[in-house]
Point group: C2
Chain length 459, copies 2
């Protein structure tokens, strides 16, 4: 990739005479980079180029294509030509692709697959994509406890002929029940004549096949695993989930959080922005902007109920937006911090009292700063604004900044409290972020604002 | 952990008579869980318990403690007792701890360390924590190209006596220059009599020691690596960064994004919420709420410049908050989507025109929905509000909802454009999120609102 840029590559590869000489170069490059280059080529060119790679390479390179590109290629080539590429894909990516095919396409492909692959694909794609089964691969090696080291090494050889990295070797009984694991290092360190059972690790972390994929990723992360074995209720080994899947899940989760934060309906398929139609984008976003607007009616009512007050003291109206905004900001900040702390396990719903008390203290500091600014603001902006003789600007400025300060404290505590509350009731704290907060504190803000005002001014 | 809960464990372990019998049980558990349990115990108890584990276990368990707990223990025990535990920690965690010690503490500890460890700690902690050097470990195995497979296996044995997992074996020349790598599987698969040079992989992904840790994590993720070699400018192998470090970096990055989104100043040290003082929290958050309030003065000025308009048509004032909020929400949403799409590489700054055009289309759909709602809102809420004879409520409702719709479109396009702009100029798009957007669109919102109003009503 460094040597020539993507476009040069595509250019050269599209000219078949040149392409041939480039293959050896490509074969030296990381398969990921080769995938990035080849996915840009036309299907016609790809069909010519693929056979120039080994079957293992073909499978691995094709697996690097984005699923949409994989489907396009599949739909374009004859099933007979496609089958071998498909067969050499990593089992997890392969079943993903299969799940994305239409039923007719699936039926059309199956006859061209070898029995073992066919069974593997069908069984793997039976698991829901959100579960361990949905992301696991079946590319693992197993040995029996009573094998000798030499037999075990031979078994590993036969189980993983491909270029794929082997992480752990799993020890199973003859019902495929998982009894432990050994590392390749154990195999190398073992003394000749030793048996597997002498070097086995019998305490291991595993996940069940119907476990949520996020909890699987969490285990991989917590225990710094390279791969985690996936078992069924009979404790039979069905597959493994590897560290790179964990990273993918964490990334997806990250996007989801951010989206929930902004009240965007997250879709499971992490689709590329430009490939998503405007209508889909619209659907994802409209939901809460609208519901927000709906709830906004409440704030509207509050404002109207104080209409007379506002007419008598017009200046109050001018500072309504300021109070609303500041509250929303302070609240969202608090929510962000708390949601994150909950996610990282730094706090639990049980801590709620300590947390709220801490947030209260923090917000008082912030409220003070903002109060002072608001006070200055009013004096500076409204010195010309006409106000009833009975009042003076300083008093009004004081009242407004007092209301604002109270609002900041309330908003912060609400912003911190809401996620914890949602968590308490088993929900995802992230949904109680920005949008929800803004709506709630808008209402409290106006109530505080007008209450304080009517307390200080006899209106 | 499953069998008894954390508190039972702590209870039992604190009673020394019981503790002794529990050690075998603990030794069977994953080191991570043992760490979680032991970190809760008093230092006195810990000092008694640690010697009951092997030195390797002691190092690994202690490494699982949070850094603050590690420091507390270190400050509490004699350096002589602490040194052996310290020596058996994984090299990367060890140098982290060392960096967190005061200079006096460092000087006090060094004499108790063996020469090799002392040198290792000092050299590792010389690298800034944000770089590959700052997170790399030196626990790796190397072989020479001209070694026989048997010699290589022997070398791996001697290089990695600990329980730690070995990922790749790196092939270096006698100046420690990295020339390639082999996997343990290659070693197992190799035929007797073969030489390392016959099975070496000479194309490998590496990172330089001063590379930003996020770019290292990105490489590990992109190439699905278990570990990546870290080299200096002379291409000499200095250490490795492993997949679990990558996950940590990605998590930290995740928090940072969220914080930037809410205008919280992210601190590099991902400190636990409750361990961070209120003052620190305050400092992290106040910066932009205040700057936001400051910029708010501008919106204040705009409002005041239309004071006369508002006096004549009080009803406009009642809907200022609605317009401000809606714009902020639409804008933040767009920003979230774009920042994420940029981060995932789904779009590039070069796409800006296509993106903005798409956002425009999306926003028109949203604007229409919100416009309708706003129209209904005004009719519903303000039917009693007194308005000049020259006008009728329907017209006012129309004007307000029109202004709101225009604001939604503008806000969305600004929300999408700002992050791209920041990216263009080499900044981090995330900083152009929520806070910034809200501020900017508040101002545009008011301008649109009053311009439309004065256009339709001769005020």
């Amino acid at each position: 990739m460094e040597i020539k840029d993507l476009h040069e590559w595509i250019e050269d590869l599209s000219r078949f005479d040149k392409a041939r000489n480039l293959i050896p170069l490509l074969q030296k490059m990381p398969v990921v980079d080769v995938g990035i280059i080849l996915q840009e080529l036309d299907d016609e060119v790809l069909i010519e180029l693929f056979p120039l790679f080994t079957r293992h390479q073909q499978g691995l390179i094709f697996a690097e294509f984005p699923i949409t590109r994989q489907l396009r290629f599949f739909q374009h080539v004859s099933k007979r030509r496609f089958a071998p590429i498909f067969e050499y894909m990593p089992s997890d990516v392969r079943s993903d692709l299969y799940q994305h095919m239409s039923q007719q396409e699936q039926v059309a492909l199956l006859p061209y697959l070898s029995k073992s692959i066919r069974e593997n694909v069908i069984s793997l794609s039976a698991y829901p994509p959100e579960t361990a089964g949905g992301i696991m691969s079946t590319d693992f090696a197993t040995v029996l406890a009573n094998m000798s080291i030499e037999e075990a090494i031979a078994k590993v050889r036969s189980d993983s002929p491909s270029k794929k990295m082997v992480y752990y070797v799993y020890v199973v009984d003859n019902q495929m029940k998982l009894t432990g694991f050994i590392t390749l290092k154990d195999l190398i360190m073992a003394l000749p004549g030793q048996k597997v059972r002498e070097i086995i690790h019998e305490n291991f972390v595993y996940a069940s096949v119907d476990e949520d994929r996020e909890s699987v990723a969490f285990k991989i992360e917590k225990y710094d695993l390279v791969a985690i074995p996936i078992v069924n209720s009979q404790n039979q080994l069905l597959g493994i989930v590897t560290h790179d899947d964990a990273i993918e899940v964490i990334r997806a989760e990250h996007t989801e959080d951010l989206e929930k934060f902004m009240g965007i309906v997250p879709d499971k398929e992490d689709q590329a922005y430009l490939e998503t139609s405007s209508i889909q984008h619209f659907k994802k976003r409209v939901v809460w902007v609208v519901s927000l607007a709906a709830v906004g009616i409440l704030s509207g009512m509050i404002i109207h109920s104080y209409e007379s007050t506002l007419e008598k003291l017009m200046i109050l109206a001018l500072y309504m937006p300021m109070v609303a905004d500041t509250g929303g900001n302070a609240g969202s900040q608090a929510a962000t911090v708390i949601v994150r702390a909950l996610a990282l396990g730094h706090i639990t719903a049980a801590n709620w009292l300590r947390v709220l008390w801490k947030e209260a203290r923090i917000s008082i500091l912030i409220a003070f700063c903002l109060g002072v600014i608001a006070f200055a603001k009013v004096l500076f902006l409204s010195w010309e604004t006409e106000i009833p003789e009975s009042l003076n600007l300083t008093k009004i400025a004081f009242v407004i900044s007092l209301a604002l300060s109270l609002q900041v404290v309330t908003a912060t505590v609400i912003g911190a409290g809401l996620p914890i509350l949602v968590k308490r009731f088993g929900g995802d704290p992230a949904v109680a972020a920005s949008p929800a907060i803004t709506t709630v504190v808008d209402i409290t803000g106006l109530l505080i604002y007008f209450t304080v005002a009517t307390l200080f001014f006899t209106l």
